[in-house]
Subunit: 423 residues, 2 copies
């Protein structure tokens, strides 16, 4: 093994060992002390806003010199309002009911055993993400809320911003007499460090990758640690024959156009055949006005000849761009089948005033979030009231959909007896 | 690729495709129809008891001819009372509240969105187990209760028994007009089939291996499908200085001796130093009378010189036999540290009358089940009131401890709006 690999291994082991030790200490910390630390984090982020911005300037300059694209620069940039946004988000997490210690179930068995199922922290969580520095503050606050130690590995291009944010967060931990290694930033930006970290399954309990599909697939492929993730967001809006057409137009446009580059944006519109002749030309005209390219099935093309013919790849595509696929379907069942076959089990919407139809849709569509008469864009932790989110899961085990602090807990059974024996 | 491998791949694909199709159909089945099918399962198991016993005789004869050991023969054998036990277990599952459709949380957001978090089936579950044919009936009934399709792969040595039991179960499904492929037995007993099945992660949502550590490690190593499992059960009883000594003796003996070959049996006893001089000789004498070999730390040896000196391997061992490790510890913190370091995070008990000590123990011990003043042997699904269990998890994600029907569900968010858009 060459020296570089030895050094990476030993750095990964040091990070994970410190995190494990901190996580044991967090098991004994009272809620009031965690609240104090969270309030202090928000306070220090506000106090250090100028310092954080100066660090961010270094990252922006380096990115510009490296010729990085405008969208990435935008994600990377910290303005006063974005820094205030980070602090507000931490305030909200500080105000949440602590998930740890909550009794999920409790009952007494015929032999007198008192059985409690109680929320406890998972332990050590590694979060691997890309350019956006606000993820650093969200992840750190949600992990502390749930008494988990975290190891944060942000994008190399945000290293100075993340160091400044983490500096404030660790100072807050220290001033609350909490172990500062409860939040650690990976300072070593070599990509080869991540796979080393993900081998340490006795020290790290959970990995959450956030970012593009290639990052997530690389994490899953390299990890011995359990991973929760979503690969892509191929979200659908189905416009039923019983939809309010004005509402349907607004929802479809909002789902595609309000922010095209994110995972809960719609990529395909499905339209009931009975209303297609009226609805397709109207919605396609609106898309054209907004510069959105429509890729349609043969029926769509017959109602809006300017559309491009869709291929099978279009049904599965996550465009993250001003392009939308469109298909005319026979009924809600065909819509659900199409979504289950081509979708990414992330978020899918129906627009209908027909109650039984909405129930068929929400039962058959096998996705983390099903929206009825509203836009797919609402599928996120803040909108669901979780304060912030540590990620969105399209997995079926453990947590599904936007993940907040409670999703970073597991449970244990605590069984109280007075000498019962098994015969 | 040779013809055998082609055949195994195509058989695995056929099983998984049929299961996926059945799981989609199960999404629309009313509770009453599932209840009818479960009642019919229990009825047909009772009606076919003689037939099931004849099939079991074939397995027993083959096992005896193959020179299989007595413990295995015992696990394999179906008596009238064991068959009645299977039927009673199905009756209990039939009587449970259906977990599917349960609203776990529901609230209205400031913008009027009504957010519901609703239990739904996971989809397709593969269960890989060893000789005990009663697992077949338990797993099938819990999967049907939770509207999951299942693929059951029992040990080769139980194939005739499993075929007879599954025959009755599938007839019950048919008579309730349910898809019979909701429960499938793997008839191909070639070991190479299992890895093929575990590659099909788009068709199978969860794998649960049950059996010895080598079986479970093989499943984890081969699987692209998420696995929930426990490798071993290295369970502890800690006898505190404030224990009622009579209760402590009975609990320690019960935890080790009531059924030494199972996962929730104690393998190590930890004893507080302040009571060790009195307690060690008494408990060791009782162990000797029952033929249990004690492997002790130096202090244990000083109080009971007939004990064997323990090595570091003893602290980590799952004996599944009449052997117990014994260590004198300084206090409850050292006990918890020892358990977290050497244990398997399965089930660990404390005996104490001191309330703060019991709280320190239950907070610090990082195990699926913590028992206070009772035996580790109670850690199972039936004793926790789950009716039956589909396995015990020492993982921290998704389900921890004994898993019943509710643990075979996930959830989805259903968001009801009336035209809300995201600005």
């Amino acid at each position: 093994m060459d020296q570089k690999k030895v050094d990476l291994k030993s750095y990964a082991l040091e990070l994970a060992s410190k995190a494990r030790k901190a996580s044991r200490a967090l098991m004994e910390i009272p809620v009031s002390q965690k609240n104090f630390a969270l309030e202090k984090m928000a306070e220090l982020i506000r106090l250090r806003a100028q310092e954080i911005k100066r660090a961010n300037e270094k990252d922006i300059e380096a990115a510009e010199q490296a010729g990085v694209g405008g969208a990435m620069i935008d994600r990377l940039r910290l303005t006063d309002s974005r820094i205030e946004g980070m602090a507000v988000s931490i305030d909200q997490v500080a105000g949440q009911t602590d998930p740890v210690g909550r009794v999920l179930e409790g009952y007494i068995r015929p032999n007198g055993l008192k059985i409690e199922k109680v929320r406890v922290p998972i332990g050590v969580v590694a979060i691997i993400f890309e350019a956006r520095p606000n993820v650093t503050a969200d992840a750190a606050s949600l992990c502390l809320r749930s008494s988990n130690a975290c190891i944060l590995r942000g994008g190399k291009e945000a290293i100075h911003s993340n160091q400044a944010i983490i500096g404030a967060i660790r100072e807050a931990l220290g001033s609350a007499a909490l172990p500062i290694d409860a939040v650690q930033l990976v300072e070593q930006t070599d990509r080869a460090l991540v796979p080393e970290l993900l081998q340490l399954d006795t020290l790290i309990d959970l990995a959450i990758p956030r970012g593009g599909e290639s990052l997530i697939r690389a994490v899953v492929a390299a990890s011995k640690v359990p991973v929760i993730k979503h690969y892509t967001g191929n979200c659908h809006v189905y416009v039923d024959k019983d939809a309010n057409s004005g509402m349907a137009e607004k929802i479809v446009i909002n789902a595609k156009c309000q922010r095209p580059g994110v995972c809960n944006t719609a990529e395909t519109v499905l339209i009931h055949q009975a209303i297609a002749e009226q609805f397709v030309p109207v919605i396609c005209e609106k898309f054209s006005q907004r510069g959105v390219e429509v890729r349609g099935c043969p029926k769509t093309l017959s109602y809006f000849p300017k559309a491009v013919a869709a291929t099978d790849e279009d049904w599965a595509a996550e465009y993250l761009d001003l392009i939308i696929a469109m298909k005319v379907v026979e009924n809600v069942n065909e819509a659900a089948e199409h979504i289950n076959r081509y979708g990414s089990h992330h978020t899918d919407a129906i627009v209908t005033d027909n109650l039984p139809t909405s129930e068929v849709f929400s039962r058959l569509v096998d996705s983390a979030s099903v929206m009825i008469n509203t836009t797919t864009r609402f599928s996120d932790g803040y909108e669901y009231g979780l304060g912030a989110e540590v990620g969105i899961s399209t997995d079926k085990l453990h947590a599904r959909g936007p993940m907040g602090a409670a999703d970073l807990t597991t449970y244990k059974y605590i069984v109280h007896g007075d000498g019962q024996l098994r015969e």
